[in-house]
Amino acid sequence: MNRVVITGLGIVSPLGKNVADVTATLRAGRGAIGPITNIPTDGLITKIGAEVRDFDPAAYFADRQLTLFDRCAQFALVASREAIAQSGLSFRDGLGQRTATIIGSGVGGMVTLDDSFHRVYAEGAKRIHPLTIPKFMISAAMSHITMEHGITGPSFTVASACASANHAIGVAFHMVRAGSVDVAVTGGTEAVFTFGTIMGWDALRVMAPDMCRPFSRNRRGMVLGEGAAIMVLENRARAEARGAEILAEIVGFGMSSDALDIVLPSAAGAASAMRACLADAGLTAEEVGYINAHGTGTLANDVTETKAIHMAFGDHAKKLAVSSTKAMHGHALGASGALELAATVMALRQGFIPPTANFTEADPDCDLDYVPNEARAARVKVAMSNSFAFGGHNAVLAIRL
């Protein structure tokens, strides 16, 4: 089996529109959750979110292209440009056929879908734009990445709600490890700030009205985010042979299903995925220094995830640093695994652990070291990143610097 490394990283996040800006914001512990501005919120219970602000599509795309690109595709394309540029790879010279493009998204072109349905049902439009279907289809972002960069190998989109991006990265990792491809462009994208979508989230009664406080005693739920993170995975031997800069190695991927409830998580299911990841990576619990938690800030997730970490890590659990960066960038659903793996890689490379922001009061049922409020200088070599999705789909990645 081949070893798999990350040789390029790109990001469009509420914390910044490139890797350097996002890393600086993570280190400063500066959150991006605030009043929603991209849509009117009269009539919505939830009025806060972590949006990608001041994103001007005209700065990145020609007019003609924009008719095809939903917001989530725009994010994915900008992030893929940064990642591929950093990797230094060109796909049009034969490498394309040996490269996979596997992107995760929870719902794809929701902004386009919402807008189109509004035209039809609310405005009584007799016709809609001819490119509506190719624009909202969940695979569109992935399609445009292959087209822009000339990547002709295997390509598809992965959907598993909040675990989509970790699953996409994990499948890409498998393919490079097995030698099916030499390179993979992978990650996730999501952009769901529409009136109708937020009304749907309101109805679940899991949205925090004030702020996202993962693991805090007075946490009141999750806050939505959006964005994309794309990374280039490469066969390690190939990367070393060409002198590429190696950002980190992906060492393991573990998956499981709770098979229990469509919204409530299970500690056993989550623990199973973490154990599977350790086994896949050939790691002992003691070797892991940091976990980027799923940590949505809901009552259910945070206590369940804490239990699961105890189950999977035993005595070592108390020695782990565990933080949720969702407190800063919100819950970006299908993109979250990618945003969070990127945050983990960037922070550890710069010698710090990102904090759990907005931490006010310890919860006796959440008894781990959550790195409250301030980034912590640390030399961590091995880390894990968790995604636990609605429906009980658990996907866990492990990296080594």
Binding site: R64, T67, K126, R127, H129, P130, L131
Partner: protein, 90 residues
């Protein structure tokens, strides 16, 4: 409503050319329009004139409507406009 003028505007916008370079006998095939551009062109025409254009990408001459020149488009729109809006008046 000036059908000819509006058609020139729509074709110029879709083909990304100067309106002044278009003539009634300009062939659409000279204008570097891909099949998806033609579909968008039809959509723009339907939207502007509130008519329904019987066009299927697999069958370029649906209902005896030829789209070879700008003149063909003008003729088609004049006919469809008369048929469809006259029907509404009845």
């Amino acid at each position: 409503m000036n059908i000819e003028s509006d058609i020139f505007d729509i074709v110029a916008t879709q083909a990304k050319v100067d309106r002044d370079t278009l003539k009634r006998d300009t062939r659409l095939s000279e204008l570097d329009l891909q099949s998806i551009d033609i579909i968008e062109l039809i959509f723009a025409i339907e939207d502007k004139f509130d008519i329904s254009v019987p066009y299927n990408a697999s069958d370029l001459n649906s209902a005896g409507i030829a789209f070879e020149t700008v003149n063909d488009l003008i003729g088609a729109v004049e006919r469809l406009n008369a048929e469809q809006h006259a029907q509404k008046a009845v």
